[in-house]
Subunit: 397 residues, 2 copies
């Protein structure tokens, strides 16, 4: 029998990240590939202690179905957290999702028909890209500099036909670009978008991970701006501030949109695991999450510093990057004509891996760039990995 | 601004179950509404002990991203379990999903374009129904008797245009119908489907919950039959044999289909929570799951017995049902002209709730029937709830 698949299947894109994740667990390979938190940095003991001391009734709730919208105590804790971040909690609601990716996917589900246009950054997060493509959206990539997407290009993209229904941005320690949007750039973008019939999907999964307190104000979400125009759906996650193995994200947005996504989620996975929602709620509501984040910022800062020093030491001068102020990533621009996949094959043989740039290209082409994650590699190993990759780049210059 | 939603939104159906779930937590209400395991029956202590004694490396894995296909040790444990159930493990693969509903939803995603026809039972599982509708499928309901769907009606449905791409069946302790398919009926169905270009989606979330060992052989999945025709995608879950709060299901099927669903899942939630997959793997691979299931079957058997006795005692003779041999549910047929929503409003005032039949109707109409779950109500409370509902039914006769 021949199976007739849906049209969605033609648009599914399997990512290099999957293959690299299996390589990344080999002990002989130094991996900057996966966008993963440090494996040795998780708050395992804190979470275990919090769970073990819970009353039986809460443990029973953890094993049981919960409301589709989310475990009510976690919704409350997150609303308090959103308020601390300056959000207008009275005007918005929360949907708890199975990771931030599901928050993106469910927004796409209720908004996008095949052929609908979505403005995305180039480069952009591979998970979001996969979801847009699965919904058969028409993607309009807009280039970035060190401050964010380029306002001129954005205006052009907004005027394209059909009129874009959504714009997806990751302004805070961008995956994969590593940058943070400047304050003026965000203002310029909001000014350009104001009054337009478009949804801004603001992805803020890394914003807590600034390296210096003086940069905290750069991380204030666009979602906090009043009056809100265009309408903003804000997405975040416990993945980088607790552990991605929990798969808990959330969508914070206008009640009408949240209501629709909640009904859509009923058809997707009924509800996110109550068990892990209970863990996340205890970690957040006890305040331990904030102590942990404060500590883990310092750990990532150290790793980033070592990687930047190694890049300065080993990379040919034609290779450029932006020194990260937070998050997990550094995005390398290779000299013209150097293909990241060639470099990857070569450096894999010598024992180091990363993700090729084309993985993050909405069109899957541009490849004289690559993403290196410093987040899951111990400081003492980082320089050796950078040296291997630098040698491989040199081979193709 | 006016938001233009996708066409999917027009097809989303919010279910009565959600409203009834919030009512169900009121201590003054006896609830037979939610299709939930007994809140006091979960293996909380066993799972906690298993987790606490894990080595640090496994706990780290629990907090980290895992492969999209599933946590490899759990895939292995499930393959062993599938083999024990008589499955052809060499010819199939597993995708671990966020609940059985996601297994259904991801199959729909890779198979169904808007307007594609799917044969479903009447009545059918509300979650699957919501997913089919969200994918804008054309549903073809086939009626059931106490042995399963009616072969004559099935043949007619198969000949409808456009040719159905999929048939979705829940043969084991059906939700909501409560019945189990007879051996001969399953043979007849497979004979009718043989050689046709259709996928059989076999939902087996309750099959472990038979009340008498002599009925175990009724629970042998159609997926075990050789040669396999049509191709079968088998769906199951930890929800009823461990806890639905974990949200772990799995899809077991032909490698080509599993490969496609795995890439689709990359665009939906990246992977199912590793944390809960670790818990499920420990529970399953240690063998404690089997001890637990053996015990919990007896608990549900007692609850079912009490409910059947109460139905016999209180219901007017015009109300009919099939005594359950396993699972969570009894499906009541009301006398012609009695509307379950009227009955529900009345019995809610007196303090007992259930789910109206139309919730499970693909067309959302037929309502002289209702679902009562005995699974989450202590034995001593069941008779009072049945009495309240019987009185309410009497009022409308």
């Amino acid at each position: 029998m021949e199976i007739q698949y849906s049209k969605c299947v033609e648009n599914l894109r399997s990512s290099e990240i999957r293959n690299m994740m299996s390589v990344a667990v080999r002990p002989d390979i130094i991996s900057f590939a996966g966008g993963m938190p440090g494996n040795t940095l998780f708050p395992i003991k804190e979470v275990e202690d919090l769970y073990n001391q819970l009353p039986l009734s809460v443990k029973q709730a953890a094993f049981q179905y919960g409301p589709t919208g989310g475990y009510p105590p976690l919704i409350k804790s997150l609303m308090d957290y959103m308020q601390r971040k300056g959000m207008q909690v009275e005007k918005n609601r929360i949907l708890i999702t199975t990771g931030a990716l599901q928050a993106i996917d469910v927004v796409n589900k209720i908004l996008l028909d095949p052929g609908d246009a979505v403005i995305v950054e180039y480069p952009t997060f591979i998970g979001a890209l996969a979801s847009f493509l699965a919904h058969r959206a028409k993607l309009i990539p807009v280039s970035m500099d060190a401050d964010g997407i380029l306002p001129d290009e954005l205006e052009k993209a907004l005027d394209s036909k059909p009129a874009p229904k959504m714009i997806y941005l990751s302004p805070y320690f961008h995956n994969p670009a590593g940058i943070i949007y400047g304050k003026k750039r965000k203002e310029a973008i909001l000014k350009i978008l104001a009054g337009r019939n478009i949804i801004l999907l603001e992805d803020d999964c890394y914003g807590e991970l600034y390296f210096n307190d003086s940069d905290a104000e750069l991380c204030i979400p666009m979602k906090t701006v009043e009056p809100e125009s265009p309408q903003i759906c804000y997405v975040s996650s416990f993945s980088k501030i607790m552990g991605p193995g929990l798969r808990i994200g959330w969508l914070f947005g206008p009640p009408e949109i949240i209501g629709k996504t909640e009904v859509a989620k009923q058809s997707m996975d009924a509800c996110t695991s109550t068990y892990v929602q209970v863990l996340a709620n205890e970690f957040l509501s006890s305040g331990k999450l904030f102590d942990y984040v404060k500590w883990v910022r310092g750990e990532y800062k150290k790793r980033a510093k070592v990687m930047v020093e190694a890049l300065n030491a080993f990379m040919p001068p034609e290779v450029t990057w932006v020194n990260p102020k937070g998050g997990f990533y550094i995005w390398l621009q290779l000299p013209g004509g150097v293909d990241a996949t060639d470099v990857l094959k070569s450096s894999l043989q010598d024992g180091a891996v990363f993700i090729s740039g084309k993985t993050f290209d909405p069109e899957g082409n541009r490849n004289n760039c690559l993403r290196m994650a410093f987040s899951n590699t111990p400081e003492e190993i980082i320089p050796k990995g950078v040296e291997i990759i630098a040698k491989a780049i040199n081979r193709f210059m």
